[in-house]
């Protein structure tokens, strides 16, 4: 009786310790990788290569996602706004939603699915085939050579990808409003532009920086902590996408709350 009673507590204890250890390892990996930004050698070519893979490589999916999201926002909001005779503010609704929320969040989720998994599987494969150990044995710090360039390039490229997504989303909304709903396109763009204030744009630009950091550090963390051969690589890849997506959405909530508190909208 006593044995069955203590078992769950013991396993809870072990799970809690493991979780705390993981958080500690994540913080250490992130901290070391960030400190490496200011230490030589600086791997410029690796940063550019990763920026190309993450940024240019993700461009098609970001454009497609942004365009159709803007379009569907216009479709849905126009049908609701029509009930109140307010279809003129469709542009305002689409631009605010895209710039503040959907642009950064959807772009980050897309990039997370594509790149957090890519980082976890690539680094995980290197771990299980001892390539990371070989790199360390050859005198190179993998956190500097592999992790730091991925963090820097993801943050920088996600920032620009979000701007692209915002712009394409507003264009998608304009296309639907004008071509399918017969609205005035100049009115659409006018309300879309007029509704945005400094805090909206700032919020829309701050989020991708935070999300880029989350995607790259989570992807690299799970990759660098891969155990258990090819099965372990698969597990790390899945975990990286799941954790990155959840943390992005949770962080989005807190950033939005901070901006509402600070700027009142």
């Amino acid at each position: 009786m006593q044995k069955t009673g203590t078992m769950p507590i013991a396993s809870l204890d072990t799970a809690a310790k493991r979780w705390v250890l993981s958080v500690q390892e994540y913080a250490l990996l992130t901290g070391r990788a960030l400190v490496n930004i200011f230490r030589r050698p600086f791997y410029w070519s690796d940063i550019v290569m990763q920026a190309d893979l993450i940024g240019i490589g993700s461009l098609p999916i970001v454009i497609l996602t942004g365009f159709f999201t803007g379009g569907v926002l216009a479709l849905n909001s126009a049908s609701t706004l029509a009930q109140f005779g307010a279809t003129a503010v469709t542009g305002q609704l689409v631009s605010l939603a895209m710039v503040k929320e959907l642009g950064p969040v959807l772009t980050s989720l897309m990039v997370s699915g594509r790149n957090a998994s890519g980082m976890a599987s690539e680094l995980g494969s290197m771990v299980v085939t001892e390539q990371i150990d070989a790199m360390r044995a050859l005198g190179t710090d993998p956190l500097k050579k592999l992790v730091m360039p991925r963090i820097v390039s993801t943050i920088v490229m996600l920032f620009f990808l979000s701007i692209v997504s915002d712009a394409v989303g507003i264009l998608g909304g304009a296309f639907v409003s004008a071509a399918m709903l017969g609205q005035n396109s100049s009115q659409y763009f006018h309300t879309a532009y007029q509704s945005l204030v400094f805090s909206d744009v700032l919020e829309g630009l701050m989020k991708p920086i935070a999300f880029g950091f989350i995607i790259s550090t989570i992807g690299c963390f799970f990759g660098m902590n891969t155990h258990g051969g090819t099965q372990g690589v698969g597990r790390s890849t899945t975990q990286a996408v799941v954790y990155a997506s959840i943390i992005i959405i949770a962080t989005d909530f807190f950033i939005t709350q901070v901006f509402i508190t600070a700027f009142g909208r």
Binding site: D133, A137, L138, D141
Partner: protein, 277 residues
């Protein structure tokens, strides 16, 4: 602008002291002891062969020797430096003097053979022409000059192991660590790899630690030499063994033998007698 830098020298004057010292080293994984109170020394020019059954901690010992793992207790000295308490940054510099051949080669699969072998040199910003010359020289040593532009996936298991040896020796290291260089290879390819290890030992007199569970490899190293005259591997006269080749036998995480080839084959220890049979 790039600046040519030479490999970092060992931090202390180490000409007289042993290259590697393990002093009461213990390491556990998930509470299970893997190596328990390990103490031994490797002197300059010595070739230590670490024998033992699979899973006894031989590879762990090698990873401890170049600081890839930290022990739970004990002291490890490499070229006179305490690597247990050394900063990671200093360890990276110190490893410039160590060449490591991993169990499966551990070549970077996204880089060509040329880039794999020249990786360390490129990291040191050595001029391109110099890298090209030294990479070619190292690949000529392992007789794989023609594979420069191939990727590791295009090579056989034995060829990958030979490229790994070329990568380890390209910087002329003071210490070579071989982690089961013949593991998983057929007997003919294994012999080719061991001949390369022999050639490296006798041509450059590099101190080495070699892990293996194949007795035939270990005894070939102890009873053969590389002849500079015929540029071939030849057996030592009957009854003679290579004096600088010594053995360390591990069993259940402990050292059960530390000595010469002669002492090993005449050991009365029941485990060793059983192991050698």
């Amino acid at each position: 602008m790039t600046t040519a830098t030479q490999p970092q020298p060992a931090l202390h004057d180490t000409s007289r002291e042993p290259v590697v010292i393990f002093d009461h080293v213990t390491i556990d994984f998930d509470g299970k002891p893997v190596l328990n109170d390990i103490s031994f020394r490797v002197h300059r020019g010595e070739n230590r062969i670490i024998l033992g059954p699979a899973g006894v901690g031989k590879s762990v010992l090698l990873k401890l020797a170049n600081g890839l793992l930290k022990p739970d207790s004990g002291k490890i000295t490499l070229f006179g430096n305490d690597i247990v308490h050394m900063k990671q940054r200093d360890l990276f510099s110190l490893r410039a003097s160590v060449g490591t051949v991993f169990q499966e080669g551990a070549l970077f699969d996204s880089l060509t053979v040329r880039d794999n072998v020249g990786y360390r040199l490129a990291e040191e910003h050595i001029p391109e022409e110099e890298i090209e010359r030294r990479v070619s020289e190292a690949l000529r040593f392992v007789e794989l000059e023609h594979t420069l532009d191939k990727f590791p996936s295009e090579l056989s298991g034995g060829m990958r192991r030979r490229v790994a040896i070329a990568r380890a020796i390209v910087t002329n290291p003071d210490l070579l660590l071989y982690d089961s260089p013949t593991g998983g290879l057929d007997p003919i390819t294994s012999t080719t790899i061991i001949e390369l290890v022999l050639k490296q030992r006798d041509a450059y007199h590099t101190t080495s630690l070699l892990v293996t569970h194949r007795l035939q490899d270990a005894f070939m190293l102890a009873t053969h030499r590389y002849s500079h005259e015929c540029k071939c591997i030849e057996p030592l006269p009957k009854g003679e063994t290579e004096p600088n080749t010594t053995f360390l036998v591990l069993h259940e995480g402990k050292i059960v033998f530390d000595g010469s080839t002669h002492d090993l084959v005449h050991s009365k220890d029941p485990f060793i007698r059983e192991y050698l049979r």
